[in-house]
Amino acid sequence: MLLIPCPWCGPRSEPEFQFGGEPATRPVPAAEVSDAAWGAYLYVRSNEKGPHRELWCHAGGCGQWFLMERDTVTHAVLRTHKPGAAA
């Protein structure tokens, strides 16, 4: 049962959160993006075994999105921070 430190609300239990995928910046403008690049943006994942950069939402709490670095083997939460803050 993960204990995740929401950057606003502090440590909260796992059911209050939703995993939102791996953070990725969308390639723009649409007209100049190849099918392969667009497919990679939509579907390809780093899927790291170990420290992994993730997007999460404190859906059951303040509803804010934040970034988390989490170890996908030990589930240790290495750090969480507000989007845009020091990545």
């Binding site: 939703q18 099918d35 497919g39 939509l42 994942r45 780093s46 075994k49 993730e54």
Partner: protein, 415 residues
């Protein structure tokens, strides 16, 4: 030595000490014509069919831990082919047909029990979506029956038809040929078969890198030395991303924990596999008498084979909503596999971005039921370098063309 009742009797008279090893534990040779990474059901089946169908003899399977120890040994053992799209129906039904002959083919009883797989509908809307799926399957040549509430109750009287039911049962659909099989026996059967045809199954042998020259794979670095290979097949499920990384490319795969649970063993009481996507659970009773049940994925990426408590309680709550009589039964054990999930819940089969390397992965929650087909199609790729027509639609390129095979969307229920 052939397995049979007579052989059991003969061996019984001499203290059962005459049985040969089911497979050898050979030292890895320096080079093979084909090397398959991943000693689970898919990898072992591919090695078996390479030797059996394509007559190849210099084949190796490299397994990081003990054979059959990954998802093959951690799933809820359901086999079925009730899929929506023709491409999916063909691959899963090809697997089911192979399963139907597998005990004889491998001379190893995999205990295929075709007791029927029943999906439940909990609203009129569910019934309409179910009719869409059933018709798709019938058109695909998969025999399934749409049942109304009365028929479902006759099939599984233990189900919750009580007045206070939060998810009243409006009906369902059943594939009679679906059922369960003994998961370990599938891995062991294929391992014994492949070994008997000269395949080297090398356990405790972790792949640490690939030797790639000119865009083509030449060999593999392992914890037990370097191995040269004419062709390399990857069947490592949840670890597909890790292996791809070693070979210098990425995959459209996210690895999640998928939990499974068993209850204490009881006398026979449930004779069908029951799946209720709406309450997030599916259940069957093993031949030893345990209820074997599971549900949806844990909702964040993980390589830890344990699973989390919230999803476990959600699955148990779903099981009890469908079977109130089970409330007093006790949970005996809980564990998880690491499944490789694609966006469209369909597998990736075909050449990898590195020449001479081939992929059979992305099966997500549905890998066990597809083992024979995944193995056969990987063998075809490794032996011929070309797609079999059943595997072509599942090529990695679909994530560039956008031509996905989205079973979840098609059937409108997570499967």
């Amino acid at each position: 030595m052939r397995y049979s009742f007579l052989q059991l009797l003969k061996q019984g008279l001499s203290g059962q000490t005459g049985w040969p090893p089911a497979w050898r534990s050979p030292e890895p040779k320096r080079s093979y014509d084909a090397v398959i990474v991943g000693g689970g059901g898919h990898g072992l089946a591919a090695a078996y069919y390479l030797a059996r169908v394509h007559g190849m003899r210099r084949v190796a399977v490299l397994e990081r831990g003990w054979l059959g120890g990954g998802n093959t040994g951690r799933n809820t053992t359901i086999v079925r082919s009730n899929y929506f799209f023709p491409e999916s129906a063909r691959i899963y039904d090809f697997a089911l047909r192979l399963y139907e002959g597998l005990s004889k083919e491998l001379n190893f009883n995999i205990m295929l029990s075709q007791r029927g797989v029943l999906n439940l509908a909990h609203s009129e809307h569910d019934m309409e979506l179910m009719a869409r799926s059933v018709n798709a399957m019938l058109v695909n040549g998969i025999a399934v029956e749409l049942l109304d509430a009365k028929q479902v109750r006759a099939e599984v009287p233990l189900l919750n038809f009580g007045p206070g039911a939060r998810y009243p049962i409006h009906g369902g659909f059943v594939q009679r040929r679906g059922g369960i099989a003994r998961h370990d026996a599938v891995a062991w059967g294929y391992a014994r078969g492949a070994d008997s045809l000269g395949v080297d199954i090398i356990q405790n042998c972790e792949v640490t890198g690939f030797r790639i020259e000119g865009g083509r794979v030449q060999g593999i670095e392992t914890s037990r030395g370097a191995i040269a290979a004419g062709a390399v097949g990857l069947s490592v499920a949840g670890h597909s991303g890790v292996l791809a990384g070693l070979a210098g490319f990425r995959l459209p795969i996210q690895s999640y924990a998928l939990q499974a649970m068993v209850s204490e063993p009881l006398k026979p009481m449930l004779n069908t596999v029951v799946m209720s996507p709406a309450t997030g659970m599916y259940v069957s009773q093993s031949d030893k008498g345990e209820l074997v049940f599971g549900g949806g994925l844990d909702l964040y990426p993980s390589y830890a084979q344990r699973g989390n408590l919230p999803v476990e309680q959600t699955v148990v709550a779903g099981l009890l909503e469908m079977f109130p009589a089970f409330r007093r039964l006790k949970l005996l054990r809980q564990w998880a596999g690491i499944v490789d999930v694609c966006w469209d819940y369909s597998p990736i089969i075909g050449p990898a971005p590195v020449d001479g390397m081939y992929l059979n992965c992305g099966w997500g929650t549905g890998g066990f039921k597809a083992i024979p087909a995944g193995g056969w199609l990987m063998a075809h790729l490794l032996a011929t370098g070309r797609h079999h027509d059943i595997s072509a639609p599942f090529d990695l390129s679909r994530f560039t063309t956008g031509r996905l095979i989205d079973e979840a969307a098609g059937a409108a229920i997570a499967h």
